[in-house]
Structures are given as C-alpha cells and as structure tokens.
Symmetry: C2
Subunit: 135 residues, 2 copies
Amino acid sequence: MLSKKTQYAFRALSYLGKQDTKKPVLISEIAREANVPKKFLETILLDLKKIGILNSKMGKGGGYYLLRNSEEITLAEIIRMFNGPIALLPCVSLNYYEPCDECKNGSGCGLNGVMSEVRDVTLNILENKSVRDII
Amino acid sequence: MLSKKTQYAFRALSYLGKQDTKKPVLISEIAREANVPKKFLETILLDLKKIGILNSKMGKGGGYYLLRNSEEITLAEIIRMFNGPIALLPCVSLNYYEPCDECKNGSGCGLNGVMSEVRDVTLNILENKSVRDII
DNA sequence: ATATAATCCATCTATTTAATAGATTATAAG
DNA sequence: CTTATAATCTATTAAATAGATGGATTATAT
C-alpha cells in the first residue's frame, strides 16, 4: 500500500497541476485545499523541490510552483521517491536491487520469475501515467 | 515490498511442496532447510494451518504437511494473509476496501482509475500462479 | 525596517516488523 | 502408564518506520 506521505504528495501535485498560472502557491493554501497536515506537507514539498519537480520562492508573494509540466511527472517516480521500491522483492527491483539469499547461490530464487512479471506490468502503467492523468 | 514473514511463508510452502510424500515434516527441518528462524516459523505455520493450507500432528512422528495441493495454493492468498492488501490504495482494494477522503464525496479520487488498473494486472498474475510455480 | 513565507532543526508517539524465551499440551511407543 | 517427542500457547522485546508537530531561522518583497 502507498503511505500517507505518498498520497499527500499526489494530492499536492494534483492541486498545483490544476492551477492555470505558474504563480507560487502558499504551503498553507495547498495544505488546506489538498487536505494535508501543513507541517507534514512542508517536508514533502521540500523533497519535491530537491528532485527538481517543484521550485519555491520565499517571502511575500512566495510559495511553491511546478517546475515541470504535470504530464511530464510520472506516477512511478513519485512513488519511488516517497514509497520506495515498486517491485515486490529487492531481487527484482530495478532501482533498489539487492540479491536475496537464494538468488546469491544459483540462477535466482523461485519467486524471481513471477515477481519480475508483476514488476513489468506495474511499471508499464505507472511509468506511462502522469500527474496530469490523476487531475 | 513483501515482508520477511511473507517471504518465509513462501519458502516454507515451497519446501513442503517439494516433498514427494505427505508425511509430516518437523518445524526444525523446515526452519533449517528453508532458512527461516525457527521460532518465527512456528507462528507462520500456525497461521497457514488456521486457513486450512496446512495440517499438523503433535508428538513423535509429528510435524506439518500440505493439506491442499501446491498447485491449488495461489500466491495472491499467501500475500494477502501475511502481507495485507495487494492493491496500492484502500479505495481500490477488493478484500480490504475503504473509501478515501476524496472517494467519499464524489465519483472517486484521481488515483482510483490508475490504481484499479495496477490492481487488475497484478492480480491477474498472482491469482493464477501457485506455490507449484515457484518450486 | 517590517511583514511574509519558506526552511531548518529537533523531537515525539504509535504502530509494525522481526525475533526470542519458556511453559504447556497432545501423541506415539515401550 | 511413563517417557520422549514435537506442536502450541503466552509473553516479551528490540528496532525500525510512519505520521506528525513546535519553534527558531533565513530569504524576500514592499
């Protein structure tokens, strides 16, 4: 399941994506409108800024705004950022790969095949859907 | 990601599925061969017994054995038992459904559509693969 | 200089995960 | 009917993670 944090990130991005201008939006406005605890939201927005999805401005007239277009932000990257690996096992993860005990000595563990399949079909959706699609 | 407990359950079931007879197998043997902490394994086997996948015998000559054939135990049911919901959001879960804030007032949240898709393709694999397939 | 708003730092509770220790009950076999 | 065996029950514990908040600090527009 996706963590609250991940869901909050989606709500915030969704709200920002709905704005017709790219003018900065207050954290407090996002918190209120997207229904996310303000303090918690702060850390989320900061993370999104770090990876270049958002930018911010301090002081009067400040706030957060999208740096990339909403159709260019995939659901997969947001989930990876806030929820961790998308794969069900480390040994089939593309971005967080680690061999399991059985994988180490042989041609992969029993679950390897199935879980790779699951990963592929999941990624096929999540890499091709964007924030635009959830607005 | 699947929890250790879930992975242990798969290893234990896999080991039991490999036996050619249906004679009881000692917890300690399963623990050793499947590489699972014995005490932890006890609770896992007990759970598997409760839902009718395994049965056990106490005393000398006792142990655990499969009650259903390995090809009739789906990966999905084991994951649900030990890992919880397979869906990424409560509002698209078939077995653990709960509406989210946005779902309550309207025709579903933005993520609903995509996450239903993900659930469907995932379940399509996990409901149709069995313990037999991971041996 | 001042009000504004993001940023930083620190802490906190509850829950979940993973695991272990020891007592108890059921069973087979002599 | 006693003994060894092996599952079952009760309980506790350490560590990690999730979710959240309070208050001080820094940057910016006017």
